[in-house]
């Protein structure tokens, strides 16, 4: 990729992404009265993260939906470890690192077969 081709892409990406984040936060100043809308906005982050995680997490470690299932087993291993630790209220970093360790452990186990 040449720099001449790269810069227009970079500027478009950065500007669009920034405006999406900035405009609602800057223009919207008044407290919302409607209980429904306030409740809706309160639930948005949980809904977004749930939709981003399920089922994408199953494809995070090399499984593509066909061929070798090893990536899927590894992802399930990491997922179980992450769910158990998160359920016990461990912090973001602990859960993230343990999930990676879970994936590595399953990958190691699969080498035995």
């Amino acid at each position: 990729m040449t720099w001449q081709a790269f810069f227009p892409y970079l500027i478009v990406m950065a500007v669009v992404t920034y405006l999406i984040r900035m405009l609602p936060l800057t223009l919207f100043r008044k407290p919302i009265r409607s209980v429904f809308i306030r409740s809706f906005l309160h639930y948005v982050p949980y809904a977004v993260l749930a939709a981003m995680t399920i089922p994408d997490v199953l494809y995070a470690t090399g499984y593509t939906g066909k061929g070798s299932m090893n990536g899927l087993w590894a992802a399930l291993g990491g997922l179980v470890v992450a769910c158990v630790l998160a359920w016990r209220g461990k912090g973001l970093l602990t859960v993230a690192v343990a999930a990676c360790a879970g994936v590595a452990a399953v990958q190691g186990l699969l080498l035995l077969f």
């Binding site: 669009v16 999406i20 609602p24 977004v48 995070a60 990536g71 343990a98």
Partner: protein, 236 residues
């Protein structure tokens, strides 16, 4: 600037930053694979600060897509941030003037948003600036490391890093799901819809960026309809 609140923000940003380090490391590897230089990859991370959008962006660059397609793709994938910014606008302290809002907007990522909105009470600029710093540095430096040194890592380690960001997401949504029936319901509905948009023929033709928005809007509406917040809860 309130020093104590700033440092509290920095502390809360450390786990996000370390999570980002591994995720952006993977991004750096992919960017170089697709023909970008390490400096290009780092510039993208420093100006965009978003995982899904950047990944889609480098794939479009690799096939020389028109700029309009780039703009529309970023708009779709990142539209969830508009929802998050709107949600967070209800939680900001009175000290957040226009300039401070514009500065913070730059780093309003999924995880920073989630941590800021789960913080008890209102949040002001001291806390938010502190919260931004470590994730931003982690995101940019992880990209650089991945782009320059990614290929030196053994394959099994690179694979294992792929799950880091999802571990972080789960750590954000599971503890409140355990405590609150309402959050549990919203999470379950959204996850179920997301599975449908992936596997059900017809529904799976919707692009991933749109699917996330549709899932989040429907699940949050269900939550707001079944479990409207009390006045005190909604203010917190």
């Amino acid at each position: 600037m309130n020093r104590q609140k700033f440092l509290q923000g920095v502390k809360h940003g450390v786990p996000i930053g370390l999570g980002y380090l591994s995720v952006s490391f993977a991004f750096g590897i992919q960017a170089v694979d697709l023909g970008l230089t390490p400096l290009m990859a780092v510039l993208i991370s420093m100006t965009n600060v978003t995982s899904a959008g950047q990944l889609a962006g480098i794939n479009l660059m690799a096939v020389h897509s028109p700029l309009v397609e780039m703009a529309l793709t970023q708009l779709t994938i990142n539209l969830r941030y508009a929802l998050m910014s709107l949600s967070l606008s209800q939680k900001l302290d009175d000290d957040m003037n226009t300039l401070r809002r514009m500065i913070f907007s730059f780093c309003n990522t999924d995880e920073i948003f989630a941590v800021a909105s789960s913080h008890p009470g209102r949040v002001g600029h001291s806390y938010l600036y502190g919260l931004m710093i470590v994730p931003y540095v982690g995101w940019a430096s992880g990209t650089l490391l991945g782009a320059v040194a990614g290929m030196l890592l053994p394959a099994f380690l690179r694979t294992a890093l792929g799950i880091a960001i999802y571990g972080m997401f789960l750590a954000i949504i599971i503890p409140p799901s355990r405590k609150s029936m309402a959050v549990r319901t919203v999470v379950a509905v959204s996850a179920l819809l997301s599975v449908c948009f992936r596997y059900v023929p017809g529904l799976n033709r919707l692009s991933p960026g749109y699917a996330i928005i549709v899932c989040a809007v429907i699940a949050s509406c269900v939550g707001a309809w079944l479990f409207p917040l009390g006045r005190e809860e909604a203010r917190a």
